[in-house]
Symmetry: D2
Subunit: 328 residues, 4 copies
């Protein structure tokens, strides 16, 4: 479509309108480093904990390995995990410890967005400005994000989680949306209605949107198209819902959250990111593996849970690797 | 002391006795990859969630940076975080995106035990054998831990957490135990009694032992002695308690969990690790920052909480970086 | 062909025969760490220096970048070069140095065979044995190659170089051999004859064999097939020549020196490597960019030069990154 | 001293005077990426090759390992070399290759100035400008040095080398200058006179200045003071000689080439770098191991040689790791 925001217009016009409508700058004070995580408070977390009724726990992280879904974007690639020592080495006698002691150690080289992660508030800028209207050049330097780095949200990402299984709800074959499919507000609302009361979204929730793409790529054993090329994802038009629902974060089982290619005629990179991160202050989660959780939700009809999805507090990190845990 | 296990004896005798008494091999079947995490079940997690009463959340992870507490052991050192792009770069005009779009990306090179982490079951061996009696050379190879790697416990480390603030309970100056101080069973029990009912330890708990060393090193701005040299920590004699209490994991605010130097006359490396990991199947957590949590517990007298401490599922990882979240 | 060694036979028979004929074990004593580099002595180097007549110098290294020819083999991939600081950063005012000082610094994460490199003597084993008949498990451990690591040949790779431009000599279109083309002894000799007196190969020479594949891949801007898939290269049958000529090293403009796929019916990995490295003690150079040098040689008809191709002395390295310099 | 440049003055005045006297901007055209390497031409290289008379070759690189002299500056540290596979692993049966094939592979994470290296022309800036008067922010970005990166001098650093063994010539105990010793023009000239005719410096030479510090640190097995703290090195006043002699490069056996601390009363970082690199366009080499070469030169009285010191062509690299080879 030429104008996902509702009327005729160019990408420039759509961006301008979205900035005007959805910008949250100053909402949480000039020094804010939490963005939409501010919607979460103690009461929200306490209420979320009551959703952990049965104690079933699900990890939503993809496995980190050299054969994972990491893209080659900007030299990204996958994590490279190497051993400094191993049991094989210990057995070969190279360690020389007394009393039967032996050990193993390891290191990793990891692009920070190569596995399940949150995009930090410093990941995307809009017209030279980062979240809260700060000058990007004063926020993210070679030293990393000095204002809104990963260490600032170390205790964040604890809230009520809601799964919106759009793939299943739209009754697609295999529960998977086709590449290029743009998820609109209407489809999100229709999914909520189809899933029932437990799927109602409230302020401060962390919303997990399942497209089915990750499962589809894994099933065919080919990640080639996952990190680039067409993918299902949120429509630029869904920004109204993302902003108005006052959610704390949204994550998908795709590489980029938003639909690829973008829905505009003119070339653009990631217009939903450009509004969501620096303007709304919204955290976007990518490469979430929602399969086991989604199967459980489909089975018992309960789509809400306690979600603890804190990432590693890498000082200045703009990509925030996490192992999100959902507890129903 | 020459024999922390209770009677006269050498390190070899102490190790032999500890193996005989505490070995859990086969307890959870021949294919087990969870060790003492098996003590946690759905009911335990559900009960733990009820401890998140007020919704106050605490991150227990140390910040990951080049100036952190990581040791130089085996080329360890600290994480090195570098930017692939930044706001400064974007502003300088190097990116060339249209419509005001700009972004930043980053990578990290990280020794896996350089920050807050769990020692994986493949981290330490005893007489050529790894956890559950498996041959270490068949478990941990250059490809990492092929049997009990971090990806196998991706949804683990969710349970009731209990803080034992031994530093405060022993009324040490500044709430910090001196380097070389060995924490015995008696001291753990005395701490529980001093802290009251909420500190009682039950099967499946994850126990956090605070010595105060991390705060002490941070206060003086010097990590030189943290990763090596004398440190407070658990006594070899505490293995009876660690095993008998059927806890799921134990973590401290030190680099090595156990007291340094070891309590034996003969040279040895890490005798508590040697029994705890490959024989008990017990997960040891290191570099946990317990300060904010401990202050909160001291203030309200409640030492129990929901703990979600899942680590990154690095395939084959024997060091498991984590951002543990305690919710009271 | 089913038997590149000359008669009917299997890969096992061919390997056995090649071991019997070409094995150099013990030739330079039991402690040797130089292999065929022993063929180079002071007199050889002094004579080689006289070949640097005009002073024209050529770098034979491919550029090291994220978009280079590095393969994904074993998580290999390309080097990732990141800046710790930059001029952009300095200008943005983040450095805070007095008197107008500013600087930049950088790091690299690099698979050691991702660019122009020598295969170290510890890179390949034959039936559990490394070069000179040593047990591979005692030679190459998690600590790297403890006997024949890159630091042992730090002053090596200085000798007379000879270019054998087989691609040009065989009058292939574009001077490039087709993928899968196996270069035999006869073709090497024919190339020498075609190139004339300066191309005669003598003891201690470092021979550079140009197939044209690197230029071909670069011209089409696609490295996908370079690191794997069919490639031109030396025939298994050329081992007789490689051994008998008593050269110090051989390098090509391909990823693997030897022809791919191997010339045997049964599956095998890299049979020429298996004989050349651990049995002959021959150094193989890969990813050499011979284009500028080859053009110069074709122009003046002189195919010999001083070659200085020492690699980085990474302690224990089995891949040895180098920037070989040819001086005519 | 308050004014190493000869008269009374501040660091600002000294810098201003040095800029006025020594600036080479435009000397080799507006597009230059070679700086003082322009002093080397074919004739120079051909003449240099005639100095390789005996064929004795010396590597001037320090070994790259986790226990090397690399500093902690900006998270620098030493290289970390890890194995992707090993002989121990192969023997343990993890590889599964047929026909007795086995192999090993490795990666390195390396700060680019952690071992023997050249400072690239983009390493230091002066008042927002890089070499040749270019704006530093347009030269060195997160993508590295886009104008004068290491790949631009890939065939450089081939010339006549001259060793100036100041430590020996000044008859210091152990041939080592004390930390803080500033080497002046006079001392360089006195060394040349003491060493004789072969030590005369001519246009395009690469000059190696030995202080003895590296040997001194290695002898006591302690690199703590090498990368920071006082060190011997070139005086700011030697810039007249460095500029006027029209040498192509200068290298030392220290971490920083210039004396530490700087010779000015006011705080400054590296004033000789600030003039030499961006103003003169002079390449500075650091961490050169000159011991074996110096002993040979002292023995035969010949201080000139062919030097081939090309570094790895890391695209955009501002630190250029090299294994310099001297051939006498």
């Amino acid at each position: 479509m030429s104008d996902p925001a509702g009327g005729p217009g160019t990408v420039e016009e759509a961006l301008a309108e979205a900035r005007r409508k959805y910008r949250n700058w100053g909402r949480w004070g000039p020094d804010d480093a939490l963005g939409t995580l501010n919607y979460i408070d103690d009461a929200k977390r306490a209420a979320a904990a009551t959703l952990a009724r049965t104690g079933r726990a699900f990890s939503l992280a993809v496995e980190l390995s050299r054969t994972g879904p990491g893209s080659g974007h900007r030299g990204g690639g996958n994590p490279v995990h190497t051993m400094l020592d191993s049991g094989v080495e210990a057995t070969a006698g190279a360690q020389g410890y007394p009393h039967g002691f032996g050990d193993a150690d390891d290191v990793v080289f990891m692009p920070l967005r190569s596995g399940t992660h949150w995009d930090g508030l410093g990941h995307v800028f809009d017209n030279a400005l980062a979240w809260n209207g700060r000058r990007r050049a004063e926020v993210v330097t070679a030293a990393g994000d000095r204002v809104t780095g990963a260490e600032r949200q170390a205790a964040g990402f604890v809230s009520r989680g809601v799964l919106l299984d759009v793939g299943r709800a739209m009754k697609r074959a295999g529960g998977s949306l086709p590449d290029g499919h743009a998820i609109t507000d209407d489809q999100l609302e229709a999914t909520i209605r189809a899933q029932g009361r437990s799927a109602r979204v409230t302020r401060g929730d962390i919303v997990l949107v399942r497209t089915g793409q990750l499962a589809r790529c894994r099933a065919v054993g080919d990640w080639a198209g996952y990190a680039s090329g067409p993918a299902p994802g949120l429509s630029f038009a869904s920004l109204a819902w993302l902003h108005g629902s006052e959610i704390a974060a949204v994550a998908t089982d795709t590489f980029s959250v938003e639909v690829r290619p973008p829905e505009f005629d003119a070339p653009c990179v990631a217009p939903l990111h450009q509004i969501a991160i620096p303007n709304i202050g919204l955290f976007l989660g990518e490469l979430f593996d929602l399969e086991a959780l989604a199967a459980d939700c489909a089975a018992d009809g309960v789509y809400e849970f306690l979600l603890v999805a804190a990432g590693l507090p890498i000082v200045g990190g703009v990509g925030v690797p996490a192992n999100p845990i959902a507890i129903k």
